[in-house]
Symmetry: C3
Subunit: 139 residues, 3 copies
């Protein structure tokens, strides 16, 4: 059994944003030498997502509006406790709507994805360095 | 280490619909001969879901209404870009609410599921052939 | 290849509630002896969630309000079928918003989590015993 681990580093300048990380993940898989197995990609932060979707700019502009509607920034008065303080409860919520992680099958040394499937990173509290974990187990 | 891969084919006639695919997945597991490991089931499309829930017709009628409320079909005027064009942005959104994939433990050669857990396929852009990937890794 | 399986038992007194189960999962990993691999944690019930988030009491009070807004208890008149009967359709919906399962990488015998990542259990139909499945595969 082979195991491989790498952290992919990201720094999205805007508060919210989406990036296609499939090329970096392909590099990881090649480096791992795994031919058959599973590949896990997860955000190591609680305010960003890894998920699978089409890479289509127009789609992500719609997502931004949609996520803001379902998980709006809370009014200041709703922050009754000092512990959280920061204005990022909506970032946590948006991340749950889009998910933390994706699991991809590895077949014949390749990411076993459908035609339109791309591995995307979704940031909901950007402007600082973030890490994505890539772990591959197989043979 | 054993590895197994199969595509399960589906064709839901309606635009939106839900199907219990547990029987097909059980057949895959039997065919694989894996006794201990993990089984991944994921939609290979970006407008449909694999998730785990009770098989209960009434439940899915409520889901249809609920998903339409949370991720409604966008008015035509909202499609400002020609790239997407098609009326399926809501299908992408619904799929994120229900999820792309499920991971199931394999124990003693069986799907290690709770009493009410069934593996479901959710279609949000039906009327054409779709594929679900089943990948099993273990011994 | 090593495989490990355990059920973690929970009993949340309230209808809805959140509990940090990271300590129990760490014990499982230690007991398994797995150094490199994957660890799956999933609810074995269709009305509760396993997900990863910060452990921060204030956050969960906001989640309760938020989930009730996105997936409210349905009015009695909406239950047209006797098959479901019980007032828990919203519990199913809430569980989908928060997810059924989490996959965690195991690296050097430890849960490979980011600084704020905790493994949380979310209950949406409490007041009775529930089970969480922990399955570990690796070496």
């Amino acid at each position: 059994m082979k195991s491989y681990r790498k952290e992919v580093l990201l720094n999205i300048a805007t508060h919210q944003g989406f990036v296609n990380i499939t090329p970096q993940i392909k590099d990881c898989l090649l480096e791992s030498g795994v031919m058959e197995g599973f590949l896990l990609i997860n955000s190591m932060h609680v305010t960003s997502s890894v998920f699978i979707d089409d890479e289509e700019e127009g789609l992500y502009r719609h997502y931004e509006t949609w996520l803001e509607k379902l998980a709006p920034v809370l009014p200041a008065g709703d922050y009754s406790d000092e512990v959280i303080g920061e204005d990022i409860i909506d970032s946590h919520m948006k991340r749950h709507l889009m998910g933390r992680e994706a699991m991809v099958a590895v077949t014949k040394g390749r990411l076993d994805l459908g035609h339109w499937e791309q591995i995307m990173y979704g940031e909901f509290d950007g402007g600082r360095p973030k890490r994505v974990l890539v772990k591959i187990i197989g043979e």
